[in-house]
């Protein structure tokens, strides 16, 4: 996959997160590329199976595209965190710097970054959520303790997971993974958020306020910081895609 495809995937990931389609104009503006070239590229990415594109309506990511895009977004945002937290590079520069560096980032380095930054939840510049990794670790503690660097032994997570913070009101989902140290993990599990638990999002307070969820017959409010670390198996709203 070349760098330009990766850039498109990342842009589409951000633009379509709310379930809407990204138009050629949106992409052209975001990537600073002429609309005609964008259309061309989208068609090609459609052939490769990353994008569902219909002219005049816009593009969304396919499941395969979504996974790839999530991974790119993750590498990009982890890199931003590293540049900001460790190298103390200003917020105005981290995005472009990370853009230039993310394409060569291996999975090993991605994991090492996440581990040494203590599983960060958000990127520094625009507070976008950092997606969870796609390795089959059951907890961040396990990843931190596991000495081997051979990620192939660990394997890839089979399910497609997104955070509770990215769900919409009235959506239902199943708890899959909780990011963070053992303390926060235990606290949430004791409240009933064990893997496999069905939850429903009742309300989302505006401006990244808390999320109210129902589970096990009661209601719990989770602050945005917490909701970003609770990952659920969820089908993306793909019914809106008309190929």
């Amino acid at each position: 996959m070349n760098n330009s495809t990766q850039e498109y995937l990342e842009a589409l990931f951000t633009l379509t997160l709310d379930g809407r389609k990204a138009t050629t104009t949106d992409l052209s503006r975001r990537l600073n590329i002429a609309p005609a070239s964008v259309t061309e590229k989208l068609k090609k990415m459609g052939d490769d199976g990353f994008v569902a594109y219909s002219p005049y309506q816009g593009a969304t990511l396919t499941d395969q595209g979504f996974e790839e895009a999530k991974k790119m977004a993750r590498k990009h945002r982890l890199m931003e965190r590293f540049l900001h937290d460790v190298l103390h590079i200003g917020n105005e520069k981290v995005h472009t710097e990370a853009c230039a560096m993310e394409h060569g980032l291996s999975d090993e380095t991605e994991r090492a970054l996440c581990r040494s930054l203590k599983s960060p939840a958000k990127c520094p510049d625009d507070q976008q959520e950092i997606p969870a990794c796609d390795f089959e670790f059951d907890s961040c503690e396990k990843c931190a303790k596991w000495a081997g660097d051979n990620l192939e032994e660990v394997g890839k997570r089979k399910s497609n997971i997104v955070s509770v913070a990215s769900l919409k009101e009235k959506q239902e989902a199943t708890v899959a993974f909780i990011r963070g140290d053992r303390k926060s993990l235990k606290r949430l599990q004791d409240m009933g958020l064990t893997p496999g638990t069905k939850i429903r999002v009742n309300r989302i307070a505006p401006m990244k306020g808390p999320v109210e969820i129902s589970l096990r017959g009661c209601k719990i409010a989770l602050g945005d910081e917490v909701a970003c670390n609770v990952f659920v198996e969820h089908k993306r709203p793909s019914e809106t895609v008309r190929p």
Binding site: R182, K183, D190, G192, V226
Partner: protein, 659 residues
């Protein structure tokens, strides 16, 4: 995953002669299930209750005399588990393990069995006999939810009793059942709730390794905690029985590999699965449950309407108390003035102006301002509105690096600062607790609001009073921002249960309000009567001016207040409600306008709102934050009071028509 019944025996300690020892009964349960209400019913002590988590932030004890027995009742904090990560949970667990209460009354919310049974299973693992109280039985009935008590009793091996704590229903039966178990000399059968075979097999082998290893804690519980990788227990076992620790390490790895989940997660999942299964076995939905009316939530949690509802509620409370308070003050004054003998001479003046007016002024402040404040706040706490406020204010509170739960102490502080400072313990780290505590002491409590509402509100206009309170809240906001700038922090994020709205029982609300108010009658009124009499005496023998002269550079020169306010400010350190009462007394029953100009009233109110926490609050602050930080907070508030009082005295006449 099936909880199966395997009987094991557990003997309750044989009871000695019933008068020879004190029996300890502990109350345990999730937050918000009505433990405090049961505690109140049992002990007659009026502990604060309320419909929000984190209220019982320390162990509370009471005594109960039951059929000639001396019973100590301990109310444990509302917890969801016994992990070693939260101070509340650790404290609860240590109390149960080291104090070994004779029996635990486990209080459950009957409408939310699955979540509540999780803690019951944890209590069973601790091997302490329990009596289970299914509270809110009336709400469950209304929801057409039938719970099979007998079956639940069989599964758990504990007596199960329906209760409606706020009405006292089932509370006596609870005590009787508890005493019966303690006094019965026979062994009682306690079935063990079994988890999955992979877990049980390892628990069994670990238990064998742990037996006779000198570990003090119950064996099965210790084995499960080892598999959960509990920090404390793992460290202890490593010391006492290294072999068991090694075994535990290999078992946790095996479990993780088998389930593709961390072993602690595996145990939590199994426990919840067992709880869910029990809940299913015993509950029958008789008729389809009526759809819960979410209209109130749709308004109070609405992105726009929610904030409007909050502001209207707060403003309505303040405006109502402002009007009610001045009405009450006039009524009481009219009533007492009927008996005014208009005596002349020193003794007559001292007795009437000092003692009698002091008494009825104190009564006016108490009945007009303080009691309604406590009543309304207790009503709000019981209704379940407070967690909604925390939900709505979560985002705004991030400006201070805090999360929404920090708003709860601040709202409680409008009644009294003392419980507010204690409630700050619900916050996760020390930095958050310190900021919330300092902000809480800046919130005008009912006694301080009484000065603003009863003085400025009554004699200048309620708009001015509300304006002053808005100024105070703006100041709190700015100080919060400054404190966060000095010591920035990212909030760990709110995790809070949102209980259903409940229609508060007026009896409970009344008892809550009365509980706080009693203190005022026994301490406040005598102090004000004495203070008022002393001031009148000093004034009659012309000594008052000598005392007030010492403070006059600040009071008269800088703040532009009448010299006598110096004495009020000193007495006000003891009890803030004395300020308004003594002013009314000093005016000799006439309108306070005869001794203070409107400008002086505003300046005086600003000083009172800020200048120093009362002596009870200072005592709590020392206990919660230490001497140094308390001194810094008090000093900061004195400086703020003098600064803003003086500025108001100089600037208000320039910009307004206040003179």
């Amino acid at each position: 995953l099936n909880p199966e019944l395997t009987p094991s025996t557990l003997s309750s300690e044989p009871a000695k002669s019933s008068h020879s020892r004190t029996i300890t009964i502990a109350l345990a349960g999730n937050a918000n299930v009505g433990k405090s209400a049961i505690f109140n019913q049992l002990t007659g002590l009026e502990q604060e209750t309320g419909n929000w988590s984190g209220k019982t932030v320390a162990l509370k004890e009471g005594k109960l005399a039951h059929h000639g027995l001396d019973i100590r009742i301990v109310d444990l904090p509302g917890v969801y588990s016994f992990s070693s990560y939260s101070p509340d949970e650790l404290m609860t667990r240590q109390f149960i393990l080291s104090d070994r209460p004779d029996i635990i009354i486990n209080v459950l919310d009957a409408t939310s069995m699955e979540r509540n049974l999780y803690l019951t299973l944890l209590l069973k693992e601790l091997e302490i006999p329990c009596v289970v109280a299914l509270n809110y039985a009336d709400v469950a009935r209304k929801k057409h939810l039938h719970l099979d008590l007998e079956k639940l009793g069989q599964i758990l091996g504990f007596p199960v009793i329906n209760t409606v704590a706020i009405k006292g229903i089932g509370v006596h039966e609870l005590t009787d059942a508890a005493i019966d178990i303690i006094q019965s000399k026979v062994h009682i059968e306690l079935p063990v709730i079994q988890y999955g075979p992979e877990v049980e097999e390892r628990v069994k082998r670990l238990s064998q390794a742990l037996t006779d290893s000198g570990i003090q804690t119950p064996v099965r519980w210790t084995a499960l905690k080892l598999l959960e990788k509990d920090l404390e227990i793992s460290a202890e076992v490593k010391n006492q029985s290294p072999a068991a620790a090694v075994l535990a390490d290999s078992y946790t790895a095996e479990l993780a590999a088998m389930h593709k989940e961390d072993s602690a997660t595996v145990i939590a999942s199994e426990r919840y699965a067992a709880a869910a299964k029990i809940a299913r076995q015993i509950s029958t939905q008789l008729e389809p449950a009526k759809k819960v009316n979410t209209l109130l939530d749709d308004i109070t949690l609405h992105p726009v309407l929610g904030y409007i509802a909050f502001l209207i509620t707060m403003a309505a409370v303040l405006v109502f108390i402002s009007f009610f308070g001045s009405w009450m003050t006039t009524q009481i004054s009219h009533f007492f003035e009927i008996f005014n003998p208009h005596a002349t001479g020193i003794i007559g003046t001292i007795l009437w102006n000092g003692s009698v007016v002091g008494f009825y002024a104190a009564l006016s402040v108490a009945l007009g301002f303080i009691l309604p404040f406590y009543f309304i706040l207790a009503w709000l706490a019981e209704s379940g509105y407070l967690p909604r406020i925390a939900f709505m204010l979560d985002r705004p509170f991030h400006i201070f690096g805090l999360h929404g739960q920090a708003s709860l102490p601040l709202i409680m502080a409008m009644g009294c600062n003392v419980p507010a400072c204690l409630a700050c313990r619900i916050l996760e780290n020390r930095r958050d607790r310190l900021i919330a505590t300092f902000l809480s002491t800046l919130v005008p409590c009912s006694a301080r609001s009484s000065v603003v509402l009863g003085l400025v509100g009554a004699f200048i206009g309620w708009q001015w009073a509300i304006g002053l309170l808005i100024f105070q809240f703006l100041l709190i906001f700015i100080i919060g921002i400054i404190l966060n700038k000095l010591n920035p922090n990212k909030s760990p994020g709110i995790i809070m249960e949102i209980p259903e709205y409940r229609n508060p029982s007026l009896k409970i609300v009344w008892r809550q309000a009365w509980f706080r108010f009693k203190d005022f009658l026994t301490l406040g009124i005598p102090l004000i009567v004495i203070g008022s009499t002393v001031i009148e005496t000093l004034s009659a023998v012309h000594w008052l001016q000598h005392i007030t002269e010492i403070l006059s550079p600040i009071t008269v020169w800088w703040l532009g207040l009448p010299a006598f306010t110096g004495v009020l400010l000193i007495i006000g350190i003891l009890r803030k409600e004395a300020n308004l009462a003594l002013l009314i007394a000093l005016a000799g029953g006439a309108a306070v306008t005869s001794i203070m100009s409107p400008l002086q009233m505003v300046v005086f109110s600003i000083v009172i709102m800020l200048y120093i926490p009362c002596i009870s609050t200072i005592a709590v602050l020392i206990r919660e934050t230490g001497l140094k930080i308390t001194a810094a907070m008090v000093l900061a508030e004195v400086i703020l009071a003098i600064l803003f009082g003086g500025l108001a005295f100089r600037l208000l006449p320039v910009f307004t028509n206040l003179r």
